[in-house]
Symmetry: C2
Subunit: 517 residues, 2 copies
Amino acid sequence: MGLTPTERAAHYATRSARFAKVSPKHLEYFKSVLDLPCSATQRKGKMLTEAQATAPYNIDWMGQVQGCTPAVLLPTCTKQVSEILRYCQNERLAIVPQSGNTGLVYGSEPVFDELVLSTQLMNAAPIVSRSTMSVEAESGVILQQCQEACEKEGMLLPLTMGSKGSAMIGGNVSTNAGGIHFARYGSMHTNVLGLEVVTAKGDVLNTMSTLRKDNAGYDLKHLFIGSEGTLGVVTRAAIKLFPLPRSKQTAIFRIADFESVVALYHLAQEHLAECLSAFEVMDGESLAISPAAQVPYERISKNDVFREGKDFTAAYFCVLVETNGSSEEHDFEKLSVFVESAQTRLGEKLDGGGKYEPILSQSAAQTAQLWELREGVPVHLASRGLIYKYDVSFPIDKFYLIVEYTRELLYRQHRMNPEEVIVVGYGHFGDGNVHLNVVDLTRSHTEELDAALYPAVYEFCAAHGGSISAEHGVGLQKRDHLHLSRTPETIQLMKALKGMIDPNGILNPYKVLPLDE
Amino acid sequence: MGLTPTERAAHYATRSARFAKVSPKHLEYFKSVLDLPCSATQRKGKMLTEAQATAPYNIDWMGQVQGCTPAVLLPTCTKQVSEILRYCQNERLAIVPQSGNTGLVYGSEPVFDELVLSTQLMNAAPIVSRSTMSVEAESGVILQQCQEACEKEGMLLPLTMGSKGSAMIGGNVSTNAGGIHFARYGSMHTNVLGLEVVTAKGDVLNTMSTLRKDNAGYDLKHLFIGSEGTLGVVTRAAIKLFPLPRSKQTAIFRIADFESVVALYHLAQEHLAECLSAFEVMDGESLAISPAAQVPYERISKNDVFREGKDFTAAYFCVLVETNGSSEEHDFEKLSVFVESAQTRLGEKLDGGGKYEPILSQSAAQTAQLWELREGVPVHLASRGLIYKYDVSFPIDKFYLIVEYTRELLYRQHRMNPEEVIVVGYGHFGDGNVHLNVVDLTRSHTEELDAALYPAVYEFCAAHGGSISAEHGVGLQKRDHLHLSRTPETIQLMKALKGMIDPNGILNPYKVLPLDE
């Protein structure tokens, strides 16, 4: 899953000979660096070398890529990170930066015997400023704790996602994390005001600032946002905050076809405009696997039809709409007008001739329930079988094509059985970000699925104006498909940048950039 | 003005010997490239060599920097731009990209005999898409025309500024243009979805895309946004659009002191939140020079006090607040509640004991009038004398310090006369972006002012957590002060990037980056 066996073998077979092997001398040096307490907090760093202690740092969240690091280094300050990286660059020691290790593209684990640099201990309490409407946080601060610190001061840190309880600021910045509120509040490129980064040569690049406008030369922080720890290690970030919304409203719709989902989205833009904060889509199939009690509408799965191989469109879609605003009364009125207008414009497509009225949440408990429905989808899917996850993006009118294509591919071309392998689509519609999930309920079709899906799914993205990575990044998983979303000139410039900033290629090797022929 | 005589001399004295002189052979080559019609439009490019024709391309908007280009090249397509730059790189010919030429930091004119590459003829009609909520525009499209094309389709291109009738998309992107709606809608880093750029070696880097989420490798477009044409020439951009607001409301306040301006801003964040689209501040002095008919409140200038040298704070401030939203009724209600709450909280500070009631605009005409007041400030100032313009940013609570400091510097330290030299401050408060203007009414104090202001003003920024450039960029004007806002490591990496992407340094030389010792 994720990588085909051939791909896996290829990755594991190519440990680069340019890297040195970690020796006792190296470990001694790291120990001496980490033993010097941080000047601000007096906290010492740590080094783990016991197999049991290093195990969780050696494997990805989905258990697919397993490295064998000789040591995990846990610095407590930027100076230690700088000394470690300078030494690694000089000694040609490969090293992987890691924070929450919740990524889904095998980007933060060692592939072979790379060292791990974990920023977990760099987790001083975030500094929240009402005056500058920003938060300054170290790399190892857990996203949810950072959100809570901001909320306490009446401010919103809008970045949020399922993994918020484990994901950390350093990884959020390094992967340009997206999430549910992206369409309303923007990306990390948008919201990071300043960064402190240690580059692959050990230089500390300090662009920390909470200024909103700052056009003094090249804006270098963008080089490190989303480059997945291959150019530098993010040690601190200043992030823009927003007024905490006083009103949060949610509604759910059951819609007959995809065309009507698009129409509903344009209506939402028109009526909800500045308060629209989420527009999440789930197809009927992704809900068919959820506990019946959670799904507020009658569930019809189209698996019967898929078996005939005639129609690969979902039986129906559910849309979860959220507004964030400063007035409960105004937002509720906007949402009501939006619902009425949708009923007029979409008629039966929206409510199945009165059978499926839109549901406006009446309480915080009901809102939580509706969000559980959405957030439960990946969890329920994962519990049912072996899961293939794709995070891709398209222009919104093509959002669902990839799901239909994958069904066609598996059921018609590869004659797989829809009762054994299910294909579902859900995601952040406003961003064109579709999460295509293929679940092998029998856990017995791995080879067939590997062969059928790679690289067909990514090639479909390329052919339809999509991106092979919407929000998860490239990591090891999509490295060899990068050319499908980027031109040769663009990849060449990425490689030139990597070569300049990390001349020995020690930082997070094998990831993001295609290997040279 | 802008540059001290010494600085000017230094710039003009150092034409780099590494560049070749333009010869007839070179011009012949350019003519042959420009004579090949663009494959899409069949339009040929142009070359201007007559002094009269090249004159407007040789001088900046404020008439301060005057080059002597031998030729202005006006390509009509990306292929021509690519061939020109590849040739210039190989032949070591210095060349300056130019679009609207409205910049204020001497960034888009030749300093010596550089060629000019104008993108003015790359101005095909912008492609507006309602489905992807984006516009694709060539470099030479005038901002206002692009705004209008979007409006026709019911969409908002939020970038706007005084120079919108001449400024062009290429320059807007290259300088990361800010403007009035920045705090609400974000920067060009936020809103540019994709770019086509010709790098300094002539490679076409195509990252054009209208996808909202696209984490496939390093996001290289950010390298070219805001790097002021020193790394590549922007030929096309895809920019994010927003729903056209149905309601636009404006109010103006007269406030007794700066502390109350800050308090008013925090109240606006609380009450107007998602609809706040501008919060512009003008000090009493900047209005004292406007035609009396335009200023809706009694004007008191503090020049009397400044003469005594005792108190350098403005006599009062005017604040212009704008909301953009989807419901006239809701926005008006929010604005009314905000005004009431401000009156309760700020009392006399806000309305001078009932003398200066806040004015809520009652009509489109009145709104236009209030905006004319704001947009007239730089115009009226420029008409009164020789003007020194500073575009700097600070944390908002320090927004006005620089104006008070400059008064102290000129009136107390340099004993200048407030009746001859006026110092005013206005700007985009929400971004911390203050436009400090010093006007020499007598046009006779140039040497004194040059000596007093440089580099004192920029050093003050550095010492108070500000930036020497908020939105105008660095250009030639602030190049030698860049170190005040950026660390040595950061400047070093900027230079390394420049060296890698433009090995012969031919593109927009002498600008942005400090010269090597």
